[in-house]
């Protein structure tokens, strides 16, 4: 049984189709990235999974249960929306104590102290949340979401509105939590760098459909043709190197950038032949590395295709 299962999910609002036959699964303990442009239907999917909206068609399950009708199953799930779910007029500790009461957390005082220390807010425990910065609120929101040790936690744009330092802090926190608490993380984001760093699996949603669903490693290595970056010892050899490479039948394309050649290969096993051809032309090579495409490139390609109606 998967932690999250979505099968043939569709949903429309006011005659406009937001989700069309969406299917994917998330395994236990995975950090799953759900990517898509604004308005793609990411938050709608999360809301349907959490039982806040009904599916138009299809079926969703979290931990094998329907959260819309199952209070006990909801106790095993955590969620962080954009607003953090915190009351500004209450202190950090009181906010956590409230949710501890709702979720029936055992020994709440100890758990609250542990989490406040983890998110580095122990010294602000009695301060009203309204006095906190956006980053501090987000950290407290994450602590609130995992307060009851959920098996699955849904994080909806956890880094939005944060400065780069705070984004990194949130990213590190998510990674630490997934390791320490062994929870499944469902990360809804369009911070592609963040997703590439922390997620094991991703799904790209665009135009209401899933355009790609695979591990990050598979997506970034298997998409498109293999590519190799060759760093030249002498940048002055660039023109000659381009000419040499351009004559090779197994090279599909070559771009030069400073002292480096970016070659796209027609044959994945042709890297040694490429190196031999350059050495044979008396071109000194400093470094050769297989280059993979970034998640951002793959994302933009899928979203671009969806927007182009492909």
């Amino acid at each position: 049984m998967s932690a999250v299962e979505v099968r043939g999910l569709s949903r429309s609002f006011d005659g406009r189709e937001i989700l069309r036959d969406v299917s994917f699964t998330v395994g236990h303990g995975e950090v799953f990235g759900y990517l898509g442009p604004n308005g793609a239907g990411k938050t709608t999917t999360i809301r349907i999974l959490l039982g806040l909206l009904a599916p138009g068609a299809g079926e969703v399950r979290v931990l094998g249960r329907d959260l819309a009708s199952d209070d006990d199953a909801r106790a095993r799930v955590g969620v962080l929306f954009d607003n953090n779910g915190l009351a500004d007029r209450m202190s950090a500790a009181d906010n956590l104590a409230y949710y501890a009461g709702l979720y029936g957390v055992e020994d709440p005082a100890e758990r609250i102290d542990e989490l406040l220390a983890l998110v580095d807010l122990a010294d602000r425990r009695d301060d009203p949340v309204g006095t906190f910065s956006t980053g501090m609120k987000r950290k407290l929101g994450i602590a609130r979401a995992i307060l009851h040790r959920p098996e699955v936690v849904f994080l909806d744009e956890p880094s939005s509105g944060l400065d780069p330092g705070a984004q990194r802090m949130v990213r590190d926190l998510i990674l630490e939590l997934s390791r320490r608490e062994e929870m499944t993380v469902f990360l809804n984001s369009h911070h592609l760098d963040e997703v590439q760093r922390i997620c094991s699996t991703v799904a790209i949603l665009a135009g209401g459909r899933i355009r790609a669903f695979d591990t990050v490693a598979n997506l970034t290595s298997a998409s498109g043709r293999p590519a190799v970056t060759v760093s030249l010892a002498d940048p002055g050899d660039r023109a000659r190197a381009c000419e040499t490479v351009g004559r090779l039948p197994f090279v599909a394309g070559c771009d030069a950038d400073g002292g480096a050649l970016h070659c796209t290969l027609a044959d994945p096993g042709a890297t040694p032949d490429l190196v031999a051809a350059l050495v044979g032309a008396n071109i000194r090579i400093e470094e050769v590395r297989r280059s993979s495409r970034s998640l951002e490139e793959i994302y933009l390609e899928h979203v671009g295709r969806a927007e182009g109606g492909a």
Binding site: L53, A68, D71, R74, G85, M90, L102
Partner: protein, 233 residues
Amino acid sequence: MSTLSVIARREIRLALRNRGVLITAFVFAIWFPVMTAVGIAAAAGGDAAAVSGGIAAITLPVGVFMGYIFCSDAFLREKRDGTIETLLCAPVSLQRLWEGKALGVVVPAYLTTLLAAAVSIGAASALAEAPVAADPLLLLHLAAVVPVWIAAAAGLIGAAQLALGMRENQILGFAFIFGFIFLIGGLQAVISGGSGVSATAEAVLMAVGLALLALARFIAGKVTKERIVRTIP
């Protein structure tokens, strides 16, 4: 501790920390009774029963209005901020969430209504020179009828605020205030009649209050999470 009391205690705490709501409630609890006490005293003269009737008549709308004031913090603010969405994901039914919030509204609304009643009794007694505090029907009115009406108001207003969008809630707010002004006009007519508190009137008011409470519960049962989420601004 039950989830009902967890939710209610939090709403009471939040109400006590909302300076704007508290100031509005206290100003209303003092200003309105003093103003109406002048009318009550003038109409009743030295008739203590008539003064009791006047005070009983104003405490119901005051209680309902207090319920409205505190609902704006417990239900509407939570929806406007979007934090209601997180609460809806907790292992608590929507009905229980509504009950807890309504209870959290009733407590401060009832306490401020009692303050308004005390100010009314003091002011009217002084102006009419007719002490009314010992009237058992007035005490019954304050102890039983008023809290039931406040609970019904909190339940109905809360359910409406959860179900309606922000624009509809604005219209509801204006309608409520205009309705309240209209009610005051009607009450002044009742007060000037100089009638006292009667057991029959209290029984009818109690029955109506309980019916409204049942209606509130029925309406709240019809509100869905989807309806709430789709009307979050």
